[in-house]
Structures are given as C-alpha cells and as structure tokens.
C-alpha cells in the first residue's frame, strides 16, 4: 500500500481506518436484507457547529493534505491529482455548510482576514467526522461520492453509498439515446414499460422516467422497472426514486437481470443497462477508488467482461415488444464490435438499426438498436 507522509493533526480522532469507527459514516456494508439507506451530507440537518477559526484550521489542513498528493495517484493508477482534490474539497465544504452561508463563509476560508474568528458556523456533520472522512479520501482513496454520500449526475443529485456503483459521467449519454434516438423515431415508445437492469443507485431509471414523462406531458402510461440483485442497491434506488417523487412511475424489483420481469415478457418498450463489463483479470489493477471501494458485483463481467452483456442481448430478443428499443453500455470498441457481430450472426432478423455510439472521450461505448 502507498505510504504518504502527511501532516497529522487528528491522529487520535480516527486512528485506525481498517476498523469501522463510530465517528465515521463509512461503516462496511451491512449484509442484512434490511438496508437503511444513508442520508447524503447535504441533506442532513445543520445541527453541529464549529468556530470559524476551527473551520479554517481544518480547511488549511485538508488543503495541505490534498496538495501533498501532487501527481502521485495519477502516476500510480490514473487517480486524482491535487487540483481535482482541491475542487472536491470545495464541494465537501459546500455540502457541509448551509447554502445561504456559502457566500460569506467560503471566501473567508481562503483569506487571511482575522476578524470574527470565534463566530460559530452551523455544520451538517461534526468537524471531527469531517477530519476523518477527508483522511479516508486521501489515505484510503475512498471515493469522494461516498464521502459526501451523493453523486451529481445529469441534473440529478443521487444518494450513493458503499455497495452501490457510483454512476459515471459517460453513462449520462444513455438518456440522450433514449430521447434523441428512441423517442424521436418512435414517440409511442414513451408509453409502456421500460426496464433498467442492474440499476445500482437508480440513476438510469430515474432520468429515463423523467425523460419519458416530459415526452407525454404527464405520467400517463409511463412505467420504468428497475432491477438489481444487490439489496443495498435496491434500498438506495428506492430511496432515490422517492426523493424525486417518482414512486408511481419507477418500481424497483430485486433480482437478476430479466428474472423479476416475467410478467412483462414481450411487452417492454425499452431496455437500458450499464452491466458489469470489466474482464475479471483487470479488476485487481483498477484505480484504487474503484477497485478497493466499489462493489465488484457491479464491475466484474467475467473472463472477457462480456458475459452479462451477452445475457442481456439474449434477453431483449424475447423481452422487448416489436419496435422496442435497447441501449447498453460496454467496455469499449472491442466489446461493441463483438456484440454487433453476435447480434448479426446469432440473432439474424431479430433487430434493426443496430448502432455503436461513442462517448465524449471518443471511446465506442454503447450498443443500441430496435427489435424487429
């Protein structure tokens, strides 16, 4: 493990990171079925406080900690550099402090102004915990999104926690495919059942539901079913659906891929998924934030990474209604081409308009098409 010499200010606060510490809200994932989703930092009540000087001291410490990283992580495994960590630090502060106080407090932390240092600032978590989680961010490479308990994705702010894959920026484009390709060509698809398989935080299901709704001016007939095998994902997705008031549109079901969808076989208007697609051998070499903290269940796609994608293609051939649309995220060009070949050779005459779409980094990322 990487050893960093870091300025120690609060060794005592969070001495051993390997043992779940009651001061942190990052305990290991509970294996029980009854998972209670955690409240993201920015939604917690501001029932704690610190003086401005205490907050400044923490900020200075946190900034130095971030600066000490330099480009170490970049060189190690393409992780974050200091610039990115400084930006995350600002976002952590934004989530910690009430919005109406941002404009006075945040500039003060950067300035050398010594006035009113004993003024109290309301915080959404105790400062000791914030010391602890920032240390985890840097020393353990705990993903920032788990630290603040949320991920900004498209125009949504989704709760995330250990055990749930953090939605990626690339995946945002699946919703554009729904709007610009599926609904543009076949507006009638907006009504009827859609499925988001392996929903994780519920990101795709929630954004798709909002897109479908805006196409029919209301909820009339829009239905999305989100499935996931993981009880944590089911709990988190359900809570995100409720936060966006979509409980009448999005239904979260527990189970593997199409297994909980037997009642809508052959009736689906659309199927979307970001399934695990990383080849098993690559898992151990992943960026620390991913490999050490995110659920392997959501990442490992078997020996060539394509096991689950093939299963999904087999599934849509029978689960979609004629004219129905599908879009899947993949590991990149090679997998995309393999899937297109598979569809053409193994499922002749079952689909039309099969296309590969690249993400904004120019990597061929999605395979999509319509059922004949």
């Amino acid at each position: 493990m990487l050893k960093l010499r870091l300025p120690g200010l609060s060794r005592g606060v969070c001495a051993n990171f390997r043992i779940p510490n009651p001061c942190c809200y990052s305990n290991s994932v509970s294996s029980s079925i009854d998972v209670k989703p955690k409240v993201p930092l920015y939604l917690r009540p501001p029932s704690f406080s610190a003086s401005l000087s205490e907050l400044s001291m923490w900020h200075k410490w946190a900034k130095n900690l971030a600066s000490s990283v330099g480009s170490t992580f970049v060189n190690l495994d393409n992780g974050p550099d200091s610039t990115l960590l400084h930006r995350e630090l600002n976002w952590l502060l934004q989530d910690l402090i009430e919005l109406q106080h941002h404009s006075e407090i945040l500039p003060r932390l950067e300035s050398s102004n010594n006035e009113n240092l004993d003024v109290r600032v309301a915080l959404r978590a105790p400062l000791e915990e914030i010391y602890c989680v920032w240390r985890q961010r840097i020393e353990e490479r705990r993903p920032f999104q788990y630290v603040v308990g949320c991920e900004h994705w498209r125009d949504l702010v989704l709760s995330v926690q250990e055990g749930v894959l953090i939605p990626r920026p690339e995946t945002e484009m699946i919703i554009e495919l729904v709007e610009d390709v599926a609904l543009n060509n076949s507006p009638e698809l907006a009504q009827g059942f859609w499925a988001d398989l392996g929903t994780g935080s519920g990101a795709i299901a929630i954004a798709a539901a909002r897109a479908l709704r805006s196409h029919v001016n209301g909820d009339a007939g829009c239905r999305v079913i989100a499935t996931d095998l993981s009880p944590v994902a089911v709990a988190v997705a359900t809570s995100n659906v409720q936060r966006y008031g979509l409980q009448d549109v999005v239904e979260v079901r527990k189970g593997s891929w199409f297994e909980p969808l037997k009642d809508v076989k052959g009736e689906l208007s659309g199927v979307l998924s970001n399934p695990p697609y990383i080849p098993s051998d690559d898992i151990s070499g992943l960026q620390a934030e991913v490999g050490r903290h995110e659920p392997t269940l959501a990442l490992d796609g078997g020996a060539s990474g394509i096991n689950d994608l093939l299963q999904l293609i087999d599934g849509v051939a029978s689960m979609l209604k004629p004219g129905g649309f599908f879009a899947f995220e993949t590991n990149g060009g090679k997998q995309c081409k393999f899937l297109v070949d598979y569809i053409q050779n193994e499922k002749p005459g079952r689909f039309r308009d099969i296309n590969i779409v690249s993400d904004f980094a120019g990597i061929q990322r999605f395979v999509m098409g319509f059922r004949l």
């Binding site: 995350e88 690339e170 945002e172 695990p276 990383i278 904004f360």
Partner: protein, 421 residues
C-alpha cells in the same frame, strides 16, 4: 444628493452636445430647468434631473405628431383592409401581423386623443364660464390634471417610437480578461469581476460564476459569469470595453504607480434556436487523460469542451459537478458568443446605430479609468468623474455611470429620431 447627481450627469451630457456652452450658469438648477430654452435635448433631460413629469419639447412634439397621424392612417387602412372579403389569406395574415404590432401604439394614441378632446372641452368650458368663479376653479384644476396626463402619454409614446434593441431584456454573459500588466492586471480583473457580482446582488439579479482561470497570485486571468434578471443586458451592455487601472500594485516594492488594463465583454444570452445551432457543427469532448473510462475510472472530473467548427470557437467548462451541467453551461456560453458575432455582423452592415454612437462599440476602446491614488473613476465616453472609488468597487455607485450611459443612449435615439424626419 440624488437630484444633484442626476443634474451633474446632465451637465456632462449636455457638454457633449455643446449645449451647456451657451448656458451662462450651469450650476443653477432652478434656471437650468426653465422651459425657455428651446432645445429638445435639454427639455427631455429634465426628466432625469427632477422628479417632475417630463416636458417633451415643442419641436419634438411636432415631429411626433406627424408620426402619430401616420400610424393612425396606417392602422385605419389595415383595419379596413382585413374587413374586406376579397383579401387573400396571406395578405390577411400579413396585415393582421402589422396591426398587432401597431396595437400598443394605437391604444396609447387613442388614450391621448381622448385626453386631448377633454382638454379642448375644458378650455371651451373655461372660456364660457369666465363669470362663474367656482366653475372656473374646478375646470382649471381638471385642466391641470389633464395636461399632466397628456404629457405622461406623450412621453410613453415617444419612448415606444424610439428604436429599441431587442436584446435589452435578455440575460447576459460577463467576461473579464486581464490585459497588459501581468499579475496586477489579473488582480484588478478579479476586483472588477467582484464589482459586477456585488452590483448584481444589489440589483437582485442572479450572478452565476461560469468559469474562473486563476493567476499565480490568486487573481483572475480570465473569468466569466452568467447574469440573469430583468433587463440585465440593456443595463450592462455599455460596460464592454477596456477598463484601465492606475495604482500601486501589491507586488510593487518601490511604491511606483502602475497602469494596467482589463477587458470586459457583455454578451446577450441566447438559446440554440436564436443562433440556429446545428449538432453536426459541434464536437463535444472531454479532455481527461487517457484510460479506458466508464466503470474503470471513478473521477469527479466531468469537464466538457465544445468546439464549434464553422467559427472555430471552443468553450471548456469544468466547475459543475456533473458532465451534463458542464455541457449545458458550455452551450450557454457558446450560444452567447455566436449570437454576439451575428449581431455585430448585422451592426456593421447597417448604417450608424445608436449603440455605436456611444463610444466606437469597439472592445478595444478604453472606456473607463480607475485611479486609486486620486480615489476617482472616470468614464471617458460621458466624461463623468466620480470621486468615491471604493463605493464603485463595492458595486454601490456603478449606477452613476450605467444611468448616464443609458441617458445618453436615449438622447442619441431622440437625435436620430428627429433628424430622420
């Protein structure tokens, strides 16, 4: 205070028009507003220097009356036309469209005509009842009210007849760039950017930082913001240009005064429809370091860069927390830039335009100097100097300049209006 500020603004403006020169005592406000001076600028100017109902000069009234009659005729002709069954659907809808455009003016004109009839009636009544003291008194009072009302309507009409910039009501994008002067210019760019931020807060506008590129000393090499609220572009548009600063930089050991400059651009906001943005003209990409992306990478960096092929403009945004929001912001900035290009293309192809009369409209024109040792801010276009520089930097009294520039714009428009007859 307010009165005399407005007054001094007028004086400065009048100086530009060479009117004040002929006036013996420009400091005497009472005589200044005497209606004896037959000058359309001067009388219109009263509107700004006092709280009284403005008096449109008789010259201007004559010109306006001709316009009003023309509008009345045109409107009557069109009404008549659309009531004829033989009008073709296209002719009909064309005429109807023009009528709708005239409707606001026509409503005001008929209100004015009613008022003028009332005034005639009152005058007749007064002539007839010169013996009845009570009646005379009552009629005089009514006449006074009616005349005030007439003036109000005339002013509204004049404003509605002046050429308008359709972009005035739009939101805007503010861009501040450090120019010559290195670190000091960057520090001043930050000061100017924050001046507009405070000014916007004071106005109740929404000020949203789009992007900031910091310099080594935490100044701003370049900063942009989206400002939204009522009439934002119309108020801020004359802030575009070079703002010059004279002061002892914090970096200067020997206490020598430096001169540096920042450039400010105010662009009206536009949407994708305004600029006819086509997907095939855009390339959207991330500029992250390589790697497989997707599930392999967990990054909070969702920066987006948009390239517009036909113009070569690129916009990069990185400070939002999702890629979608970065992209939306980048598109907003791109649209504003394209819209501004289209506008300036139209401007140069047209004849002399109002906005060009205030300064050259050239971004490279030096418009204002902030002199810290002397504690003053001078706007070179209206020739106004304000002696509380800290207030200005705090966004407190920027209105001194904003209002003067708007006033000058209006006076230029009146000049164009009357010379066009």
């Amino acid at each position: 205070m307010k009165l005399s500020q407005g007054f001094s603004r007028c004086i400065n403006l009048l100086r530009q028009f060479q009117v004040a020169k002929s006036y013996p005592n420009p400091c005497n406000e009472r005589s200044f507003v005497l209606p004896a001076i037959p000058n359309i600028f001067l009388s219109f100017c009263r509107y700004y220097s006092t709280e009284l109902q403005p008096q449109v000069s008789s010259d201007l009234l004559k010109i306006m009356e001709q316009r009003l009659v023309a509008i009345e005729h045109r409107s009557a002709f069109l009404e008549n036309f659309i009531n004829q069954p033989e009008a073709s659907p296209t002719e009909y809808s064309k005429a109807n469209k023009e009528l709708r455009k005239l409707r606001d003016s026509m409503d005001l004109i008929s209100e004015l005509r009613t008022k003028q009839k009332e005034i005639d009636g009152l005058r007749t009544l007064m002539a007839e009842s010169s013996d009845d003291k009570d009646m005379l008194e009552m009629a005089t009072e009514d006449l006074h009210k009616a005349l005030e009302e007439e003036k109000r309507l005339q002013n509204l009409l004049l404003k509605s007849l002046l050429p308008r910039d359709d972009a005035d009501e739009r939101d805007c994008i503010l861009e501040v760039r450090a120019g010559t002067g290195g670190e000091e210019a960057s520090l001043f760019a930050m000061d100017v950017f924050k001046m507009y931020e405070r000014y916007s807060q004071k106005k109740g506008w929404r000020f949203e930082v789009v992007d900031i590129a910091e310099s080594d000393l935490k100044g701003y090499k370049e900063a942009s913001a989206a400002i939204s609220g009522s009439g934002v572009y119309g108020k801020l548009k004359f802030e575009s240009g070079i703002h010059r600063v004279q002061r002892v930089p914090v970096t200067e050991k020997s206490g020598r005064i430096h001169t540096s400059a920042v450039s400010v651009a105010i662009l009206p906001q536009a949407d994708e429809v305004d600029v006819r943005l086509r997907n095939e003209d855009l390339r959207i990409d991330t500029y992250r370091s390589g790697g497989s992306g997707g599930q392999h990478a967990n990054t909070t960096n969702s920066a987006v860069r948009i390239t517009h092929f036909p113009t070569g403009i690129t916009v990069s945004i990185q400070d939002e927390r999702s890629q979608h929001m970065n992209k939306a912001k980048a598109l907003k900035v791109l649209c504003a830039k394209l819209y501004e290009m289209e506008r300036s293309r139209l401007h140069t192809s047209r004849s002399k335009l109002r906005s060009e009369q205030i300064g050259s409209g050239d971004r490279s024109e030096r418009i204002r100097t902030y002199n810290f040792p002397q504690g003053r801010v001078t706007d070179h276009r209206v020739g106004i100097t304000y002696h509380a520089i800290d207030d200005v930097m705090q966004g407190e009294n920027l209105d001194v300049f904003v209002d003067a520039l708007l006033l000058q714009q209006e006076m230029d428009a009146i000049a164009t209006f009357s010379s066009a007859q």
